[in-house]
C-alpha cells in the first residue's frame, strides 16, 4: 500500500488531533483487539475519529506507514548499505537502473562525491554480492558495499 503513495517532501500544517496522535504513537500502539479504541480513549476522541485521521495522514503522505515495525534482519535475509559515485550528467539514468532492481529497498541522493546511497535486501549474502557486482557493471560506476558490523541504535521519535 505505502509504496504507491507519492513521497511528500514539503512540510504540512497539522490539526491538533493529528499532532497529538503523531507525538504519542510512534512506538506504543497497544497490542489489543481494538487498538483504535484504546488510542481514542487516551486522546479523548472516538475510535472513528482516530481511524479517519490515520487514513488522512497516510493519504497525505504525512505518515509513510502504520503498524508493526520489524527488525527484518532477525527474520530472514541479508542486508547492506551500498553507495555509488555517479557522474552528475548520468545521475537520473543511473537512478533508474538502480531502482529497477527489486533488491533495492531505499535509495537516496546525497550531497557528496559518493552521491547515491541505497539499501540492498536479498535472500542471502551471496545474492547480495552478486547484485552489488551487477549494479557496478551495469552502471559503470565505482561502488561501496558497507554491511553493518555493529548496531548501536535504531529508533528516534520526531516531534510534530
Amino acid at each position: 500500500m505505502s509504496e504507491h503513495r507519492p513521497l511528500r517532501q514539503e512540510s504540512v500544517v497539522l490539526s491538533d488531533l493529528e499532532r497529538r496522535l503523531i507525538n504519542a504513537y510512534q512506538g506504543d500502539i497497544p497490542l489489543d483487539p481494538e487498538p483504535f479504541m484504546r488510542i481514542a480513549e487516551n486522546l479523548g476522541v472516538t475510535s472513528e475519529e482516530v481511524q479517519q485521521t490515520l487514513r488522512r495522514l497516510l493519504d497525505k503522505g504525512v505518515l509513510t506507514r502504520f503498524g508493526p515495525l520489524y527488525n527484518i534482519e532477525k527474520a530472514d535475509g541479508s542486508f547492506s548499505l551500498c553507495a555509488l559515485k555517479v557522474p552528475e550528467h548520468r545521475f537520473d539514468e543511473v537512478a533508474d537502473q538502480v531502482n529497477g532492481y527489486a533488491q533495492v529497498a531505499h535509495n537516496y541522493q546525497r550531497e557528496h562525491e559518493w552521491n547515491m546511497w541505497f539499501v540492498l535486501a536479498t535472500e542471502d549474502y551471496q545474492e547480495l554480492e552478486q547484485v552489488f557486482e551487477d549494479i557496478k557493471t551495469v552502471t559503470g560506476c565505482p561502488g561501496l558495499n558497507l554491511p553493518k558490523q555493529t548496531e548501536f541504535f535504531v529508533g528516534l521519535k520526531l516531534q510534530a
Partner: protein, 158 residues
C-alpha cells in the same frame, strides 16, 4: 516457541501496515488462518524477541519539517569504536547508528550516525556534539545531506 511458518505469514500480512478498521488483528488473523487471540499471542512474543521493534506510526520526516536529514560518517580508532559508537547511538537526536567496514583507500569511515533537524544550525550543533563526544579518537568526518528520496519501498520479505 514461535512457529516459523506462522511468523513468516504474519510478517507478510502486516509489513505494509495494519488495516484501519475496528478489529485490525481479526482481519489479519483471517488472512493468515489463525484466530485473533492466537495472532495477538504470537505478535506479543515477536515483540518480546525484538523481531517486532515496536508497533506505531512512521512519520515522513519532511512532512514534519525535518528538512535536514544528515548521514554523518566518522573515522574512529578501532580500539574505541564499540564504546564510542554506543555513546553516539544514545544521543536523543540520532536515529540510526552503526559500525560499518572501511573500504580503504576509497572510504575510511567506520561509524555512521543519522541526525535530523528542522534548521541548518540545529544539525550543525548536533554534529558538534558528536565531534566533542568522539574527541581525539576521531581522525576525520564528513556529512552527507540527503537531497532527494529516489526510492523507498521499505525492507520486506518476499
Amino acid at each position: 516457541m514461535l512457529d516459523p511458518v506462522l511468523v513468516k505469514k504474519v510478517i507478510a500480512a502486516t509489513q505494509n501496515g495494519l488495516p484501519i478498521c475496528d478489529r485490525p488483528y481479526r482481519t489479519i488473523a483471517e488472512e493468515v488462518g489463525v484466530d485473533e487471540s492466537e495472532l495477538l499471542v504470537t505478535m506479543g512474543k515477536m515483540l518480546d524477541q525484538g523481531l517486532i521493534r515496536r508497533i506505531g506510526l512512521v512519520p515522513n520526516h519532511y512532512a514534519l519539517g525535518y528538512r535536514y536529514n544528515l548521514m554523518t560518517v566518522w573515522d574512529v580508532e578501532d580500539e574505541h569504536i564499540l564504546q564510542l559508537g554506543q555513546h553516539v547511538g544514545d544521543l536523543d537526536f540520532v536515529s540510526h547508528c552503526y559500525q560499518r567496514p572501511r573500504q580503504e583507500p576509497d572510504w575510511n569511515y567506520n561509524l555512521f550516525a543519522m541526525v535530523h533537524g528542522r534548521t541548518e544550525p540545529e544539525v550543525e550543533q548536533q554534529v558538534q556534539i558528536i565531534r566533542e563526544l568522539l574527541g581525539s579518537s576521531c581522525l576525520a568526518m564528513t556529512q552527507l545531506n540527503s537531497l532527494k528520496i529516489l526510492k523507498k519501498t521499505g525492507l520486506r520479505i518476499r
